[in-house]
């Protein structure tokens, strides 16, 4: 075991061991460990095989920056082992291995690499036919491109979504973010401080500095009531107007901040040399994280590449924990640090100038080559500087620059409400970073009109040495990786440029650089430097590829949350269930499809027959119900609908047909004039939301004295229909005269039925004698009960949606949206009667006149099919001389006629009753239908008007 004693291991609790398995082998770690730290403590460094060449890979950053650490935990793939907290009983397995991690049969790919040059996929798959792709390539690639296994049976449990609001959101709790959050919260702002780490302090937690008392700083932050601290929280994107997703475990918090301070720090960069991807080669920061966070001694004999003073810190920590420093490799002078280097030399480190040219090893680093000489080691720490975490700033519109003198990438962000602070803003020494955090907080406070002081800028003594740009020449034997995720070497990028892809975005698409899970954190800047050199441009000119959310991987479960399903129920829902209804969703509504059990066709046939012969009861509560009222209500309807309503007498019900400005039919319904200034207007279930919105828009333009109330849910509707409908109503107590003379067809009444206030309209969709009773929804169950009780002796029965659809089709009634499309004109429906010839204006009138001058080409007609004919399906084409001229819109077997009937668009010259029309059925067979009149049942309208 390589565990160290306290004070090393700030995150682990040695009193709480945790057992888990990796690749079927049992391991033990501690509470506070990550999967990777616990495995490293047990000497298991290799975590995965690389994507293309199946090379052994291990943790490199210990900060979740690379795909090397992606593992499968139980049913969840692609978890970063260096970030995922260890939990008791975890079953962890490696991904992208054929066989086992240790004996991966695909490791041979590493030697076959020359057969898969850069652009292999791009080039290979421009060519193949779809057939070859489906049959051969896709299954092969799916099998090879192993990024975990998705458990199709997994249930999305425990996901959670919430909103957060604050004055100031500080992203990153390193020295800059911590200082900014304290400054802002102490000034009275409502502050959230988020960081993906489990603790506050950022780099100070693993690279402490004598002059900063982190414990005191954290205590000060934690004592502030106005400061909400969210550790273990990833800020995964920046969206317009400071809307940022904060993901903590399975919870997605959508944060709206008035001001945002991005103190996201930097990403420690790899050094590029042959074999730089071997397990055991880590960033200096990763080495210090392992030691200080997890108490893991990462090796026994190390080589340090110290391009920056950070490397010296790593070396000092290694000495402290008893790791031998075989060599300290200095690619350049580190002025001001001679004394530290001297101490390391005294401790036995060989000081070499130059750089690491190559590393070798099997599944772990065994030696590195410096100046041509091989030095044995089991640990390499590389410190060549950081790149600013550019993702969030660039999403918010920051521009990336590069200073050739200091080899420093810089970010320039000029947007109200956003501030960069600390090392992401280009500061290096801790005092300068803290001062910059306070400065950013003060700027944010001032933007919020909160008094804030000023902080004087602090001299940044470490800036000059903070970045070290090593040459990026390809190694003659390759395997010098620029992108670990995608197994891309220096020569691959160079070759991409040679292929003619000079722009970075094109290099990315051709080579796939930066497309892996780490999204270029380690590769983008090296790529930019290689492309810049190869194209003779500056790095700033080359830039980085566009940064888009999400910053890191996120689960779909977190985005979906708890899985809300939109659902609306009518007030009669429980009554339907009680009556044995089979409920089906229709849009957001649940509606009874039919009642009772047993053979569906039989049930539906019985329901249709009940309506034709006795009486049926349909819940029509989902119908849109709009009350249009005010002195100009009639004038308003006159403008919106095609018929005349201003002159409609009180007590009358009129059909309503709505067109859009292109004269296409978009809705229909009826309007019952309840008073001079009140119309009760119905709209189709699916269209009422749009009709209501359209009415608001039209009246915002017309500005006439009218108000529209959407009473769709406030009122329920019961349709009582069938030859015995009147008998049913007359069996109920009411102040309404239901006699034929007292209540003729197309009239409406307001009154009381069974003690319940109702609006009754004599209209119907079935072709039978029908009354539609509308009542306030709280009374609907009682009204249902009363109607059912009164109707029982008369054979009244409820019927469902399917019977209703058949009944309306038998009568030739259309359904807007089913029998109409985006172009259907009233004339194509044969609805000329529904269009006023007298009105000076209605929406669509002008276009309708134009369309009439152009002439009609199709007509919606009823078709009837002889028994034995194959029934066409909806959408089947209507042919004329072999050419399609229309299609079937509705089709059903009519129990009343014993025939299949349909509505279909035919050529306008084929619309006369008796014409035979050819349709290509689903089987491909041509079938013949005969044009019927506008109704199949009771075309003389005797039944509904009795």
């Amino acid at each position: 075991m390589t565990r160290l004693d306290a004070p090393f291991g700030s995150r682990i609790d040695r009193s709480r061991p945790i057992s888990f398995s990796f690749e079927g082998q049992r391991f033990t770690g501690y509470e506070g460990d990550t999967i990777a730290s616990a495995l490293a403590a047990s000497g298991q460094w290799m975590l995965s095989r690389s994507f293309k060449y199946h090379r052994p890979r291990g943790a490199f950053s210990m900060a979740g920056a690379e795909a090397n650490t992606l593992v499968q935990v139980g049913s969840e793939p692609n978890l970063a082992a260096d970030l995922t907290p260890l939990a008791e009983g975890m079953v962890v397995s490696a991904q992208n291995v054929n066989g086992s991690l240790a004996r991966d049969r695909d490791a041979v790919m590493d030697r076959l690499g020359r057969f898969m040059p850069v652009g292999f996929y791009y080039r290979t798959f421009m060519g193949p036919t779809r057939k070859a792709w489906l049959k051969w390539w896709e299954p092969l690639i799916r099998a090879k491109a192993g990024l975990g296994m998705v458990d199709l049976a997994a249930r999305p449990d425990g996901f959670d979504k919430s909103h957060l609001h604050c004055d100031i959101l500080v992203v990153g709790a390193g020295p800059a973010g911590l200082a900014a959050a304290i400054e802002a919260a102490e000034a009275g702002a409502d502050v959230i401080l988020g960081d993906e780490s489990p603790d506050l302090g950022g780099r100070l937690t693993y690279a402490p500095e004598a002059e900063v008392d982190l414990t005191a700083l954290v205590a000060r932050a934690e004592a502030l009531p106005a400061l909400r601290i969210m550790t273990g929280t990833v800020c995964n994107g920046w969206f317009e107007d400071n809307w940022l997703p904060l993901i903590r475990g399975k919870a997605l918090h959508r944060c709206r901040a008035r001001e945002v301070i991005l103190a996201t720090g930097g990403i420690e960069q790899p050094a590029v040399f042959r074999g730089n991807d071997l397990p055991g080669i880590l960033t200096g920061g990763a080495v210090r994280r392992l030691i200080r966070h997890y108490g893991v001694r990462p090796g026994t004999r190390s080589v340090i590449l110290a391009g920056t003073p950070d490397g010296l810190g790593a070396a000092e920590d290694l000495l402290d924990v008893g790791t031998r420093i075989a060599a300290l490799v200095l690619p350049r002078d580190l002025p001001g640090h001679a004394e530290r280097i001297g101490r390391l030399r005294s401790a036995g480190a060989e000081i070499l100038t130059g750089r690491i040219e190559a590393a070798r090893g099997g599944t772990h680093v065994e030696a590195v080559q410096v100046g041509g000489r091989w030095i044995d080691c089991d640990l390499v720490a590389v410190s060549v500087g950081h790149a600013p975490s550019w993702q969030l700033p660039c999403q918010a519109g920051a521009r990336l620059g590069y200073d050739d003198a200091t080899c420093r990438f810089s970010l320039d962000l000029a947007r109200d409400g956003l501030h960069l602070a600390g090392s992401v803003a280009g500061h290096a020494s801790t005092s300068a970073v803290i001062a910059d955090g306070r400065r950013a907080a003060m700027a944010a406070l001032r933007a919020l009109d909160i008094d804030a002081g000023n902080v004087s800028p602090c001299q940044d003594l470490e800036l000059a040495l903070a970045h070290c740009a090593l040459p990026l020449n390809p190694h003659p034997k390759g395997r010098d990786f620029v992108d670990f995720d995608e197994d891309l070497q220096v020569k691959d990028i160079v070759n991409a440029v040679r292929e003619g892809y000079r722009e970075l975005e094109l290099v990315k698409r051709f080579s796939t650089v930066g497309m892996g899970p780490s999204q270029g954190r380690h590769s983008a800047l090296a790529t930019a430097r290689i492309v810049a050199a190869a194209t003779g441009r500056s790095v700033a000119e080359t830039g980085v590829t566009t940064a888009r959310p999400p910053v890191g991987p996120e689960t779909l479960g977190a985005l979906a949350g708890h899985g809300h399903v939109e659902e609306r129920r009518t007030a009669l829902h429980a009554r339907h269930l009680e009556a044995g209804a089979e409920m089906r969703p229709v849009g957001a509504w649940w509606r009874p499809y039919l009642y009772g059990r047993g053979d569906r066709v039989e049930r539906i046939t019985e329901e249709v027959r009940a309506v034709r012969e006795g009486a049926g009861l349909l819940d029509v509560s989902t119908l849109g119900k709009l009350e249009v009222r005010g002195p100009d209500a009639g004038a308003f309807l006159d403008r919106l609908y095609t018929m005349a309503h201003a002159n409609q007498p009180v007590g009358k019900v009129r059909y309503c047909l709505m067109l859009n400005e292109m004269a296409a039919v978009i809705d229909d319904g009826v309007a019952f004039r309840m008073a001079d200034d009140v119309f009760y207007v119905t709209a189709t279930t699916g269209a009422v939301a749009r009709v209501y919105a359209d009415m608001a828009l039209w009246n915002a333009q017309w500005r006439i004295r009218v108000d529209v109330a959407n009473l769709t849910a406030a009122f329920s509707g019961l349709n009582i229909t069938g030859p015995k409908a009147r008998d049913v109503l007359q069996a109920l107590s009411s102040d309404i005269d239901f006699s034929p003379a007292g209540f003729p067809y197309l009239e409406g009444r307001i009154g009381v039925v069974a003690g319940i206030p109702v609006r009754v309209m004599r209209i119907g969709f079935t072709g039978e004698l029908s009354y539609e009773l509308h009542c306030p929804s709280s009374h609907a169950p009682a009204l249902w009960d009363a109607v059912m009780a009164a109707g029982a002796p008369l054979g009244l029965r409820p019927y469902g949606l399917e019977a209703s659809r058949i009944l309306r089709l038998e009568k030739g009634h259309i359904l807007i949206g089913q029998d109409t499309d985006a172009l259907t004109s009233p004339d194509e429906l044969g609805f000329g009667w529904a269009v006023s010839k007298k009105k000076a204006f209605f929406v669509g009138k002008r276009a309708l006149e134009m369309r009439r001058r152009l002439g009609e080409s199709r007509r919606l007609v009823g078709l009837i099919f002889e028994p034995g004919t194959e029934a066409p399906g909806e959408s089947c084409l209507v042919l004329r001389g072999g050419e399609p001229v229309g299609h079937v819109t509705s089709v059903a077997h009519s129990p009343t006629l014993g025939r299949v009937i349909a509505l279909a668009y035919t050529h306008v010259e084929d619309a006369a009753p008796g014409t035979e029309v050819t349709i290509r059925a689903r089987s491909g067979k041509l079938v013949t239908g005969r044009v019927a009149g506008h109704a199949f049942v009771d075309p003389e309208n005797r039944r509904q008007e009795i």
């Binding site: 969206f239 317009e240 107007d241 809307w243 959508r254 709206r256 400005e661 292109m662 209501y692 919105a693 608001a696 828009l697 009246n699 915002a700 333009q701 500005r703 959407n710 204006f841 009138k845 002008r846 276009a847 134009m850 001058r853």
Partner: protein, 88 residues
């Protein structure tokens, strides 16, 4: 997510709103030729720059106007339709 400042409800997430298209001139239908009316219906100018648009706050069913820059997506102002200058 973008915020839109509703004249009635204040700043809200844009998902609470419905976009109802640009404010268009309302020529007299009878004064235009068929070709001009077709142009009115089907051709939008779509010029980059500030544009007046209809928006609706869905929960309150309130329709208002927003002036938005179609290049920057910045909303310059929002106002009640009653404040629309005649002829605009």
């Amino acid at each position: 997510m973008k915020l839109l400042s509703c004249p009635l409800n204040g700043p809200r997430n844009i998902e609470e709103f419905q976009y109802l298209g640009p404010l268009r001139g309302r020529p007299d239908p009878d004064a235009l030729s068929d070709a001009d009316w077709a142009r009115h219906l089907f051709r939008a100018e779509n010029r980059p720059g500030a544009m007046l648009e209809w928006w609706r706050h869905r929960p309150s069913n309130y329709v208002f106007l927003a002036e938005r820059h179609t290049v920057t997506n910045a909303v310059i102002r929002t106002f009640d339709p009653s404040e629309l200058e005649p002829g605009a």
